[in-house]
């Protein structure tokens, strides 16, 4: 089962824009309820195994702009977005975290999310975990993962294996799992129920009149124009593209003003033995300082090792030939800063900006220092923090020197978790959509992706996105799409 190429004129009862964690689950619920569903996806369908994970080739084929996207600021924050059938689920780490119960209660309270039962959401999470096969690795952990475990254990810090949505058909090798992304799970299920998926179709804007959208104006992969008519539309393009599309359609309100991310800073660590796993990431995370600060491991192919040394190349470059003994790790923070997504007339892509607060900068500093300490406890020979002017670190005394030298403005700050650009709830001063994702002031336009999460959850957000998307789609089915 696969997708079809988009055509110039299409029609559906329900149009779903985007096929990632939000779009695929929405399509499944609506199609299984008997609705006529058309999904459109800007990227193409790429079979798993066709590209090497975390490679430049994968970035070319499955990421927006080849993976080179940035939120402007001081410092700018590099981010990535999936742009393929399955969206970000095809390219992310595959680590699964349920939304924390206390966070759900806070969202409900502060954003006045109506008819919201955190227990119901966690029950949906149960279903999701079965559908995408969330589980621990069957055998020994990879060396980079074991480094996180041993360093945290030595320091007495809270840590653990994060389950992944994977199957392991080739035995118990932790690095040979097959991700149960949307192209393996919800998209085939939606299509089996009658949903259509058209790839190579960018939606430029929606035709909206008096709060009702009737058609989507599109550009096909060959550059030719197209148009899709519908009764209801679900915008599921992710936290950058969804608000940008709404703005291009003349919908403003509280749209795109509260981008939330988990900024991360990185380091590379060199060990005595070969530890590098080029095409996978560690499954351990360290949560001693959560939710404000978390540590984990990144993809570490030789190109990414070189990138991690780039900021201080003059003194760090000697390490690049040791890449087989190196791995890259990150410290991620729950940021108090906020960003904006702003569409500019006549420009295809939005401008994205993000501003870190003073507290964020200090948290990045302490996070990098603590992560460095963890690496030393895990018997790293030398640690190479990723910021301009960084000294290499070989012992605890060096950690203090490094911490003093750190400036967030000199660091390579990145993120892969983007959310909260159309926050859901009934507080119209701060929420872009209602308690079930319908855009405030619009009759038949819904958002159902990471944009809806009221704040950054402090953990990998995919589980939260999927659970909310299913909840909201079920509500839509139950009410027949009428205003309630």
């Amino acid at each position: 089962m696969s997708a079809q190429q988009a055509t110039a004129n299409m029609d559906a009862e329900i149009l779903i824009i985007g096929s990632g964690a939000g779009g695929a689950t929405t399509a499944t619920v609506l199609a299984e309820a008997g609705m006529d569903v058309l999904m459109v996806e800007e990227g193409k369908w790429v079979e798993q195994g066709a590209v090497v994970p975390f490679s430049l080739d994968q970035m070319e084929q499955q990421y927006r702009a080849g993976g080179v996207t940035v939120a402007l600021g001081m410092p700018s924050i590099a981010y990535t977005e999936g742009r393929c059938a399955g969206g970000g689920t095809e390219v992310n780490s595959g680590l699964y975290w349920r939304p924390p119960g206390e966070l759900l209660e806070r969202w409900q309270r502060e954003f006045a999310i109506r008819d919201f039962d955190p227990h119901e959401l966690l029950s949906i999470a149960d279903e999701v975990e079965t559908a995408i096969n969330v589980r621990n690795v069957p055998g020994p952990h990879s060396a980079p993962s074991e480094i996180l475990r041993s360093g945290a254990a030595s320091l007495g810090w809270q840590h653990g294996e994060v389950p992944r949505w994977m199957t392991y058909p080739h035995g118990d090798d932790a690095t040979k799992g097959e991700r149960q992304s949307m192209t393996r799970t919800y998209l085939p299920r939606a299509m089996a129920a009658g949903a259509r998926l058209a790839v190579g179709c960018r939606v430029d804007h929606l035709e909206v009149r008096n709060g009702t959208a009737a058609a989507a104006v599109t550009t096909l992969a060959d550059g030719s124009p197209g148009r899709i008519t519908f009764k209801h539309v679900f915008v599921c393009g992710g936290a950058i593209q969804s608000p940008a599309l709404l703005q291009r359609s003349g919908i403003h309100g509280h749209i795109g003003r509260t981008l939330a991310v988990h900024p991360t800073v990185k380091l590379a660590a060199r060990f005595a033995d070969a530890v590098n796993v080029p095409d996978d990431v560690p499954v351990h995370q360290v949560k001693e300082f959560a939710p404000h600060l978390s540590f984990g491991g990144s993809a570490s192919n030789p190109g990414l090792i070189a990138l991690s040394l780039l900021d201080q190349w003059a003194t760090f470059r000697r390490a690049v030939t040791d890449w087989e003994r190196m791995s890259v790790y990150y410290a991620a923070i729950t940021s108090e800063g906020r960003g904006r997504v702003t569409s500019v007339p006549h420009m295809k892509d939005p401008i994205v900006t993000y501003r870190l607060t003073h507290r964020d900068r200090e948290l990045l500093r302490s996070g990098l220092a603590r992560l460095t300490l963890l690496m030393l406890e895990a018997e790293a020979e030398e640690v190479f923090p990723s910021f301009k002017g960084a000294p290499s670190v070989r012992n605890r005394r060096d950690v203090a020197t490094m911490q003093q030298a750190f400036r967030a403005s000199k660091a390579t700050v990145m993120t892969v978790h983007l959310c909260s650009t159309v926050p859901m709830g009934e507080v119209t001063e701060t929420c872009g959509a209602d308690s079930f994702g319908r855009v405030h002031g619009q009759r038949n336009i819904y958002v159902n992706d990471a944009s809806l999460l009221p704040t950054a959850p402090g953990v990998n957000p995919q589980a939260s996105v999927m659970a909310f998307a299913i909840r909201n789609a079920r509500r839509f089915v139950a009410t027949g799409g009428t205003r309630v």
Partner: protein, 117 residues
């Protein structure tokens, strides 16, 4: 809408950076890397691409005048917002490409004799 190709503006600068950073990288590899960098610039989001090409034009102009590379190197050392990110972008793309495709490359750009990926 057709767009100005990036290579004439950013390719020579990317190559010049590689001569400084990885002086023993083979010329044909240097050219291949610069072509890759320009291709990635061509696929940048529109606003970012506009900014990169605007800054790239200034550096390209500097490359074309005597002593311009020295001036460019001084500018690159200044903590200028966004301007400093241009050479960083060029280097990021270049280094990622070099070590992903030829992981046995040494810090001066030569090969240690291993097999390229």
């Amino acid at each position: 809408m057709s767009q100005v190709p990036a290579f004439p503006l950013v390719g020579p600068f990317a190559e010049r950076l590689l001569i400084d950073d990885l002086p023993r990288l083979l010329p044909e590899r240097r050219r291949e890397v610069a072509t890759f960098v320009a291709h990635r610039v061509d696929t940048l989001p529109s606003f970012t691409r506009f900014g990169v090409l605007a800054i790239g034009s200034v550096f390209r102009l500097l490359l074309s005048v005597p002593g311009g590379w020295g001036v460019a190197k001084i500018i690159m050392r200044l903590p200028l917002p966004f301007v400093a990110e241009y050479p960083r972008l060029m280097r990021s793309l270049s280094f990622a490409y070099v070590w992903e495709h030829w992981p046995t490359t040494t810090p001066d750009g030569s090969e240690t004799g291993g097999v390229a990926a």
